[in-house]
Amino acid sequence: MNSTPGIYVHVPFCLTRCGYCDFNAYAGLDGLKPRYLRALEREARLAAPSWDGAEIASVFLGGGTPTTMDPEDLGALLRTLRTSFDVAADAETTIEANPDTVEEATLAGLQEAGYSRLSMGAQSFDPAVLRALERLHAPENVRRAFHAARAAGYANVNLDLIYGAHGETLESWERTLGETIALAPEHVSAYALTIEPATPLGRAVARGDVPAPDPDVQADMFGLACSMLRDAGYGHYEISNWARPGYECRHNLGYWRRQPYVGLGAGAHSYRHDRRWWNVRPPEEYLATVERGELPIGGEETLEPGDAYLEEVFLRLRILEGVPSSWIEDGRADPYVASGLLLDDDGSLVPTERGMLLLNELVLGLGAGGAARTPL
């Protein structure tokens, strides 16, 4: 497989913290932005030499909310990345945006700066669901921001959705999907709400103040997303991701196909040659380390063959590429094929729609993570 490395840049700033989010993101640290930009540029220059000769196929600015930064600064950042690394001319360059932080002028600026793909956190078109998620924006903002993106020249836009929050019904989710499809983005991500213990929502669920999402309702919602998006012409290419043909996110596919990537910014992860490492998470610590001229590495691990195999199996199942049945011990897959969770597609085991929802069960049932196998 060709190596197509990517660059991930983490921007930890947000307008407010949403109750469900456990990402490395902070509200109220805006004063750090100028230092943070300089640190990102410096880290890029520190990290780049070891990636000499690798042609970068994608750049992804995530967060946090990258669009809380000034478009000109973001443009300068991309230029630094291009001068430090060998970024391909046709590289996919994605920036995440929050519907509240983008005006048409901003979006035009980002387009101008070289960010050609926009990923927008719509989450829902139901005001009640947005409130349950503590998102500040109204559904109209999503429509307005989306039209602004089109007007600014964006021809590759993703909408992120979250389903299964407290109070959301199947009917409400159907309307959200309908509104999404009506906007006709090139890409849709739909995530079942996951309760993370170390978040305000996680604590509220633990206290019993808010009910945990009902997995059966989420399963129904997943089924509805599969059928509505399929009918609208989107291809299902990862458990939670759909795209028009040719618009699959190359950067994310790089993660899932275990391609190398370098992460810049607080808490960003990197991977290359069976080694995974990650930067320190607290922004202040990240800044201080980079400002001393050191790489801000917070931890690392070397993958043993068994780890690598487990990753390969669960990621292949997630992106519906299938696991060769020759990898799996005889007989282990049979009950799952028989009960309709796996399809044996000419020697490749691919999860069905029901199987996708029970993927953890499949991964463990197929014996991954057991004896170290090295088909890689």
Partner: protein, 604 residues
């Protein structure tokens, strides 16, 4: 030199729990200067940590007090109904008993039970009201009540405060005055009663003995009657209160003997020690009986690989606990373990706690049951384990053990007590008013109904005022059935139980409801059923799992995702398989949990 028998008094203190027995023992040690003030600590005689924590005496102890030229041997008796036999052996070692009654609470069931035991053993009773300095004390009322029971002159009843020491000197004088000295001939062949036996890791088996006749020298070849074991005794001594060697124990004396044995089963409570060879006595003292387990439960290591450790731990506990029985048991659901027999639920709790605490084992205990007699024609089978009971009524009749229960309750709560006993299949024997306010009730009750949560129910129905004591009362036929619990059609032996037919549905419903919450959803619907033979009496369904995947695999943090899967994998490996159903360890522990005194609760 042994003490002249005329200068010896052997006595015990009998009391209801919390009426101040341990405090009085502490005070006696203090006023006789047996323990120096600076060495004094509360509950001095209770040796095990567990005893001190639970405020009960598990093992009997004896201590020698020297007072006014007399040798006073105080024999402390176990304070729980599980250990009635041990109490009776301790009483055999005495000529007198201080009957201690709380001046606020008055007579309680254990007071009566112990009084009857002491009287039947021919002991002189020295009655004393304790805690007379409590604001709630009602000395006059209680004196009347006690005098009535003992049929004695109210002036014979001492008034003391074990806490402050008030009246304790008078109590000692009364013991010397009223309790007769022991009789026994030093020239007769040795007969010494074992009233307690314990295992010391350094010295082996140490018995506490009362010499009835003859002399027990410090070093002698001795013989146990019941076990026919002979041994070279290593040391005789007395607790004063620390072990102090003496050259010999003469008639009427009480002390310890380091037997030279390594296993308490060779020197059992109630057995008689004599000298080996032709100097020995021909007959043992009467009254010995084998300790008999009343309650049975399967103990399994939570981690199957700890089986050998559990076996070693039980072997070691048995060295110091002659009442503990165990035999290997194999459960389809729980793997290899042991079916253990206990004197009662407290004894079971203590053993389980010691295994967990002293041997660092994590255990799953199956629901405790009593011993049933199952008849088929003339053939009787003893059943300790519900799995051994023929399913679906393939037998002629079943008998269960019953007890004779004594309950004392304020008259206001009589209705609640009678209601509870009726509900527990009790048969009223008689009832009498101790005073216009307090009633003594006797019931014959199935032991299975009483050993688990009866006491809790009794306490909550009477605001804590009723007290209970009971003794085994033989076997009685009953309509008993075995209830099985099935997962996806597969019986789970660990959940089988034997109950009265009228209670089968309740048990089945409780277990199926509990398991429905405890068993994680599987890839298919799991039927949770309770059945008598092939007849299903309750059913719940654990619906098939539809979603377990984590939606996001986002950003580059693949490590976290992989670790989550590894954690899940470990969790899965720890599960037990019942047919096709994976059942977590925790589900067995929670489903079988017997809370304080037995009221099982579902943890939410």
């Amino acid at each position: 030199m042994t003490t002249e028998t005329s200068r010896i008094r052997n006595f015990c203190i009998v009391a209801h729990i919390d009426h101040g027995k341990s405090t009085l023992a502490d005070r006696l040690l203090e006023v006789t200067h047996t323990v120096l003030d600076r060495d004094m600590r509360a509950q001095y005689l209770d040796k095990m940590d567990l005893e001190r924590e639970r405020g009960i005496t598990i093992k009997a102890q004896s201590v020698r007090l020297l007072h006014d030229g007399y040798e006073l041997n105080l024999i402390d008796t176990p304070g729980h109904v599980d250990f009635t036999y041990e109490v009776s052996r301790s009483l055999e070692a005495c000529e007198g008993a201080v009957l201690l009654v709380d001046a606020a609470q008055g007579l309680e069931a254990q007071t009566l039970a112990n009084y009857h035991l002491a009287r039947d053993a021919g002991l002189v009773i020295v009655p004393a009201l304790n805690k007379i300095d409590l604001p709630a004390a009602e000395p006059e009322q209680r004196t009347k009540e006690l005098a009535n029971l003992l049929d004695c002159d109210p002036r014979e009843i001492l008034h003391i405060s074990a806490k402050s020491g008030e009246g304790v000197d008078e109590l000692l004088a009364a013991v010397i005055d009223r309790v007769p000295p022991p009789v026994g001939d030093a020239t007769e062949p040795l007969q010494a009663l074992i009233f307690d036996s314990m295992f010391d890791p350094y010295r082996g088996v140490i018995t506490y003995v009362r010499v009835q006749q003859g002399v027990l020298p410090s070093r002698a070849r001795i013989k146990m009657f019941a076990t026919r074991v002979e041994s070279e005794a290593e040391e005789t001594g007395v607790n004063a209160p620390e072990p102090t060697p003496v050259p010999e124990l003469g008639p009427g004396e009480v002390g310890y003997l380091v037997t030279g044995l390594k296993d308490v089963h060779q020197a059992k409570v109630g057995d008689t020690i004599t000298l080996a060879g032709k100097l020995g006595a021909d007959e043992p003292l009467p009254g010995y009986r084998e300790p008999k387990p009343m309650v049975w439960s399967g103990l399994f290591p939570a981690d199957g690989s700890d089986y050998a450790d559990l076996r070693d731990a039980l072997d070691r506990l048995k060295l110091s606990d002659a009442a503990l029985h165990f035999e290997p048991e194999t459960s389809q659901a729980l793997g290899f373990g042991f079916r253990c027999g206990f004197l009662g639920l407290l004894h079971m709790d203590i053993v389980k706690e010691r295994l967990e605490r002293e041997f660092d084992l994590e255990l799953i205990a199956t629901a405790p049951n009593v011993e049933f007699h199952v008849f088929r024609g003339d053939e009787m089978t003893i059943v300790h384990n519900p799995a051994e009971m023929p399913p679906g009524g393939d037998h002629d009749r079943v008998e269960e053990p019953v007890v004779y229960a004594t309950i004392i309750t304020p008259a206001d709560y009589l209705g609640a007590v009678l209601g509870l006993c009726q509900e527990r299949r009790g048969e009223l024997v008689d009832m009498s008013y101790l005073t216009p306010e307090r009633v003594e009730v006797h019931y014959v009750l199935p032991m299975a109904e009483i050993v688990f949560d009866f006491f809790d129910q009794l306490k909550s129905g009477t605001r804590g005022y009723a007290s209970l004591d009971y003794e085994p009362w033989g076997y009685q036929e009953a309509n008993l059935v075995r209830v099985d619990v099935l997962l996806h059609g597969e019986p789970v032996d660990a959940f089988s139980t034997i109950v009265h037919r009228d209670k089968a549905y309740g048990y089945g419903k409780q277990m199926t409801e509990r398991l429905k919450e405890l068993i994680p959803r599987q890839l298919f619907d799991v039927a949770v059923q309770a059945a008598i033979g092939s007849k299903i009496i309750a059913r719940e369904t654990v619906k098939a799992k539809r979603k377990d995947v984590l939606a996001k695999c986002y950003g580059g943090d693949i490590t976290r995702k992989r670790k989550l899967l590894e954690t899940q994998k470990k969790g899965k490996e720890r599960m037990r398989r019942v047919g096709r159903v994976d059942v977590p360890q925790e589900a067995f522990i929670q489903a079988l949990r017997v809370d304080d005194g037995g009221s099982a609760k579902v943890k939410k």
